[in-house]
Chain length 298, copies 2
C-alpha cells in the first residue's frame, strides 16, 4: 500500500456537530486545511438552515474560501434542491446520503430508505446533466443507533441500486461509531467494488484506527477524517465523533503509507480548530504530539 | 483466536499516574474489578514511598482487598527489596521492569539498563527460591520519549538475556504511547517467543486498539489494559495513557474472542474509577456505551 487518499471533513461534518461558529472562522479553517497538502476537503453542506443552522452560511463560506489548486472540494446535499445550490456555487463533486436503516433515514431525512433511493436516482441524473459527479454515502452501514446491527447484505443491495442508477462513488458511514474490525471485514466482503469506495469512521468507541487498519488490509485506500476529531456524537454527549485526521496520518506515515499531507501543518490546523470551537478536541496526536517529538532528557 | 487473557492494571499502573487516592478507594476498585470475570490483576507495586507516594499504602491495600478465587494477582517491584516485600505480602507473581533505552532506565531507575539487568538476574533467583515467578517488563519497547525509536534488536537482546537468567514471562511496555502497528510487527518479528509474551499498550496517539489487532494477528493473546483508561501520560499533560479495558473487551467480544469478562460489570468498575479519581476518563465505551446499547427511536 503506497498511497491513501484522505478526505478532510472537519469543515462540514465536524463543524455541523459543534456549536455554530462564524463564517470567517470556517473560512480560516478551510484555508488552513487547504495548505496542509490534503487533496480532498468536504467543504460545506447545502441544507435547510432550519434543519442545520451550523451550515446556513454555506454560500458565504464557500465564496470566501481559497480554492487551492490540487485540492478537490466537495459539498454534501440532502436532496436535489441542495444539489442545485451546490452546483450553482461551483461545486462539481456532490455527496448525498441515505441510511441503510429505515429508522435512521426517517429521523435524518423524514422519509423511508426506499423513498430516499428514488430521490437519489433523480438527483444523480440532474447532477450528471450539469457535469458533476455524485458520491452516495450509505449512513449507518456498520450499525444503527436505533435498530442495532445492520445486515451487510442490506447495505450491498443499496450499493447495487445506486450504482445501477449511476452513482460515481460510494462511501460507507460509521454514523455513530458502531464500526469494529469485524463489521468492516463483513461489510467489505459483500459490497460491490465496481466504483471507488471510501470509508468514514468515527472513533466513538476507540476502534477508529483499528477499523482503518482492517480496511487497508482489505484493499481500501480512501478514508474520511476530521481535523482534531472535530464533531461529536449526537447520541452520546461528550463522546468522540469522527476519527482525527492527524491520528490517521500519523499512523499511516509511520507505516510508510503516503498521504501527501504535512503532519506539522495539519497539527497547526488542529490547533486552529480547537481555538475556533473553544474546546479541547479528542485527538491524541494533537495532545501528545507525534511519536517522533522527543522530550528533553535533562 | 478463541481466547485472550487480559491483565487489568488500573489499580497499579493506572492509579500510580493519577493524584493519590485513599487506600479504601483502592480496595473498592480492586474488589469491583475482581467481580468482573477478569482473570489477572496487577494489584499494587512495592516501591519506595518517596519515589511513588501513590503506592505507599500497598501493604494496607493488599491486606484489605478480597482475593477472588480464579484471579491471578501480581505486584510490580523496582528491585529485590521490593520483591521481598511483595513475597512477604503473599504475592507469587512478581513483575520487574527494565527499559530498553538507557536514558529512560536512568530516569526511571537511576541506573543503566545493563546494571538493571544484573539486578534482575539476582532478583529472579531470589524470587524463584521463594517459590514465586518473575515477569520482566521491557519498558520503552516501542520507542523512548528521550531517545526516539528503539531498535527491536536491542529489545530482543534484552529478552534473550532475561530468559537466560530464568525469567518466567516477558512483557513489552509501550511506556509513552509510541507503539504503532508497524512497530508492533517489527518487534514481534525479532523477539524470542520461548516464554509467554504480554503486550502493554497505551492509547496516547489513538493506536491502542490497532496495535492490539496487529498483535492478535501475529499470535499474541495476552494484553494489559486499564479500567476506564485510568492513568495519564507523564510527558504530555492531558493525554491518554493505558488503553481502556472496556474498549479492548468491547472490540474483542465483537470479534468473537472470549476474555471471561462481563462488560457490564467492567463498565460499573469504570464508573467507580471515575468517581474515585474525580475526573472524566478517556474511555469511549464508558462514555458512549457499547455498540449494542440502542437509542429509543421516538
Amino acid at each position: 500500500m503506497a498511497n491513501v487518499s484522505i478526505r478532510e471533513v472537519g469543515p462540514r461534518d465536524g463543524l455541523q456537530n459543534e456549536d455554530p461558529v462564524p463564517a470567517s472562522d470556517k473560512v480560516r479553517l478551510l484555508d488552513a486545511l487547504s495548505r496542509t497538502g490534503v487533496r480532498r476537503i468536504e467543504a460545506v453542506s447545502f441544507v435547510h438552515p432550519r434543519a442545520i443552522p451550523q451550515m446556513a452560511d454555506a454560500d458565504e463560506v464557500w465564496a470566501a474560501a481559497t480554492k487551492a489548486p490540487g485540492v478537490r472540494y466537495s459539498a454534501l446535499v440532502p436532496n436535489s434542491r441542495g444539489a442545485r445550490r451546490a452546483l450553482a456555487a461551483g461545486f462539481t463533486e456532490i455527496e448525498v446520503v441515505v441510511s441503510a436503516s429505515d429508522t435512521h433515514n426517517r429521523k435524518n431525512l423524514n422519509r423511508s430508505t426506499a423513498e430516499s433511493l428514488e430521490d437519489i436516482s433523480a438527483l444523480i441524473d440532474e447532477v450528471h446533466r450539469a457535469g458533476g459527479t455524485v458520491e452516495v454515502i450509505v449512513a449507518t452501514s456498520f450499525g444503527c443507533p436505533y435498530e442495532g446491527d445492520v445486515d451487510p447484505r442490506r447495505v450491498a443491495t443499496i450499493v447495487d441500486r445506486v450504482l445501477a442508477d449511476g452513482a460515481d462513488r460510494v462511501a460507507f458511514g460509521d454514523t455513530t461509531g458502531m464500526a469494529t474490525p469485524r463489521r468492516v471485514t463483513e461489510l467489505l466482503g459483500v459490497v460491490s467494488r465496481k466504483a471507488p469506495i471510501l470509508l468514514h469512521f468515527h472513533n466513538t468507541r476507540g476502534t477508529g484506527l483499528a477499523n482503518i487498519l482492517t480496511a487497508l488490509e482489505l484493499g481500501i485506500s480512501e478514508f474520511d477524517a476530521s481535523i482534531g476529531g472535530l464533531g461529536g456524537c449526537p447520541y452520546a454527549p461528550g463522546a468522540s465523533g469522527n476519527v482525527a485526521t492527524e491520528e490517521v496520518v500519523h499512523m499511516l506515515h509511520d507505516m510508510g503509507v503516503e498521504t501527501g499531507i504535512d503532519l506539522d501543518a495539519l497539527l497547526e490546523a488542529a490547533e486552529l480548530a480547537e481555538r475556533i470551537v473553544g474546546r479541547t478536541l479528542p485527538s491524541g496526536v494533537l495532545r501528545a504530539g507525534p511519536r517522533t517529538r522527543l522530550v528533553a532528557a535533562s
